[in-house]
């Protein structure tokens, strides 16, 4: 049986959209449960951290350049730099280092 690419995309969209929108529309109250509150407070930072490392050293041609970008990003963000400067500095670090590595 031949499948239609657009139907595949439609199914993918329906599932992803449901996942994204159900919590936003169904959960209107502030959650009282202490465990759940704390869990949801920590989740964003943990999930972003998990996705950052070691993925950042696998995304670049040279793992050293990726690791250097991680360090540069952490130092700049720690010193108060915003999203764009940090992202740009990470890219520049990789670009420059990979010229030599």
């Amino acid at each position: 049986m031949k499948h239609n690419v657009y139907i595949y995309i439609l199914i993918m969209f329906a599932v992803i959209y449901a996942i994204r929108v159900l919590p936003l529309t169904l959960v209107r109250k502030q959650i009282k449960n202490s465990f759940l509150r704390s869990f949801l407070y920590y989740v964003p930072y943990i999930t972003l951290a998990v996705m950052t490392f070691p993925a950042i050293i696998e995304a670049t041609q040279s793992p050293i350049a990726g690791a250097a970008a991680l360090v540069v990003g952490i130092v700049l963000a720690w010193c108060g730099a915003g999203l764009f400067p940090v992202a740009l500095a990470c890219c520049a670090t990789v670009f420059i280092l990979e010229l030599f590595l």
């Binding site: 690419v5 992803i16 929108v21 936003l24 509150r37 964003p44 996705m51 963000a77 990789v94």
Partner: protein
Amino acid sequence: MKSEKNNRAVFLRGMRDGLPIGLGYLAVSFSLGIAARNIGMTALQGFIMSWFGVASAGEYAAMTVIGAAAPYIEMVLVSLIANARYLLMSFALSQRLDPKLSVLHRLLIGYAVTDELFGIAVAQQKPLEPAYSYGSYTVAIPMWAIGTALGVVAGNILPQSIVSALSVALFGMFIAVIIPPAKQNRVVLLFVTLSFAASYAASRLPLISSLSGSARVIILTLVLGAAAAVFFPVKPDETEEADT
């Protein structure tokens, strides 16, 4: 911050913060487009998929289903697994919206809960202003979709050094989101460090490293998040302060 009641200013701030994300998206979606081309998708199909999917791992997983011409039910299951972390993010985001915010706004904000756009949304003061998200979406989503279409059409014309450099833009933004709260809150700092270590270990250890990347993210987030919540419960007023 109180002076920013003006929706236009908030929208523009969203666009500004969405720009680095959009640039990172161009690089990532470009490589996604190459994968789409390899399974015979057209540029239009790639564009539509990214316009509606707005998910890197989710779309890549979907392409494996399309490439294998698998049954439609497999697309349902794969999409559920590959995108489950968005459920957690949307739950977290629901706590940052004004409880009185209309359903229409909620339906629109939910459209593009991605790692990055969620990341900058949680870095905003509570309650999240919808205009901020709309501004970031307006810049980032078209770049995501266009990048995918370009990847299908142009293949490997960008030099590898540029692709490599652009690919860390996304991680740079993640870092910029997680480091400021980690600096202020020692528990967040501890768990960011633990997350790095656990994630590295999970990518190397037998068994767990054979799971898909997105399954590992789900498992580690659940385990570490639960541990943090059990051992370091957050007091209601503390959450408010740490969020700003």
